[in-house]
Symmetry: C2
């Protein structure tokens, strides 16, 4: 029953009571379901079978939209963290970066989200399809959002205009990923604050 292709037969059966749900709505529903599983349980128990059952969508439809478990996981994860990892804009780039990076560190260290991402990045090293899906469905989108906020800081005169903000993404979020993937040192609040302070103020003596 759980694996029966529900919406494939919906046209015949009619289902006039609820009507056929628009694809966008079904899609959003699936992504919400996937995100919930990932952030509460992790990736091990995420299967197409289970997502199909939980969201009442046929596996055929799921495979049509997401060709692999990795793609489904990343799309779901992106949507799940979108709100939590929003980039605040209070007009103070220092405060905004620290609060966003804190939220990011919390998801990474206090939910299964950190393991999910680490395992996906890990698998992507020997799976070119997964690597491409990761970038397309997750990291390039996250990079773009961070870049937007940093460019507004440039416009506001808080970050120098000649700085390539793409590099800052690697020196802030990339530095956190580094500690997650190679855990020689922990991700602490002091670390988060130092990331931002080092870049905004510089580590030298300003006598250049």
């Amino acid at each position: 029953m759980a694996t029966e292709p529900r919406d494939a037969v919906a046209g015949e059966r009619g289902q006039r009571g609820r009507g056929r749900r628009p694809a966008d709505e079904v899609r959003a529903d699936v992504l919400r379901t996937v995100g919930e599983v990932l952030l509460t349980e992790g990736i091990a128990d995420l299967t197409f079978e289970r997502v199909a059952r939980l969201s009442s969508v046929s596996k055929t439809t799921l495979y049509k939209w997401w060709p692999s478990k990795g793609a489904l996981a990343m799309d779901g994860y992106f949507h799940a963290v979108q709100e939590r990892l929003a980039f605040p804009d209070t007009g103070d780039i220092r405060a905004d970066l620290i609060s966003q990076l804190r939220a990011f560190a919390r998801v990474m260290t206090e939910t299964p989200g950190g393991r999910v991402l680490a395992e996906l990045i890990g698998q992507a090293q020997t799976d070119p399809d997964l690597s491409a899906a990761f970038r397309r469905l997750y990291s390039s989108g996250r990079r773009a959002l961070a870049g937007e906020r940093l460019r507004r800081a440039q416009e506001a005169g808080q970050v120098r205009a000649e700085i390539d903000v793409r590099v800052l993404v690697d020196q802030l979020w990339g530095a956190v990923y580094h500690r997650l993937l190679i855990p020689d040192e922990p991700v602490t609040d002091d670390f988060i604050i130092a990331l931002v302070t080092n870049l905004l103020d510089g580590i030298g003596f300003g006598d250049v």
Copy 2:
């Protein structure tokens, strides 16, 4: 023949011509062999069998020293790059960081070394033993070397004393790893220079 445990029978056969090699020498020889294979061919063709044959050491001995292929690979890799990735000390931290990071970027992008590390880090995400071996045999040692050079820059008055140099390791080398593991953006020379400049000079306006 290739897999015959050569040094296990060396005692009986005598081999008086060369005599039995000291363990340190044998070990260094194996690590050199492993490093050469990794930096010229990558990790796919690295097997205990092949290393035993190439360095005329029994597999038994190899397994005694390195319990897994991952441990053998990381120890060999650490030694192979030790010289190339040495931390110069000309007294100018800016120039020294740029030249070391350039050498690091070259190994990562122009030799199979980058793939080797990426795959080891990837596998380590689901293999706790490999993760521990990676840190013990590679990353903690590399971190320590970088930290030493950065602390000398603090003593020389080029980096402010209150800076936690461990965070700089993540914002410099960690940022390069980020682009290698999640290749949304390439590792270019401009990127390397920006990493160092952003930190030393700061990205704000210094009016804190």
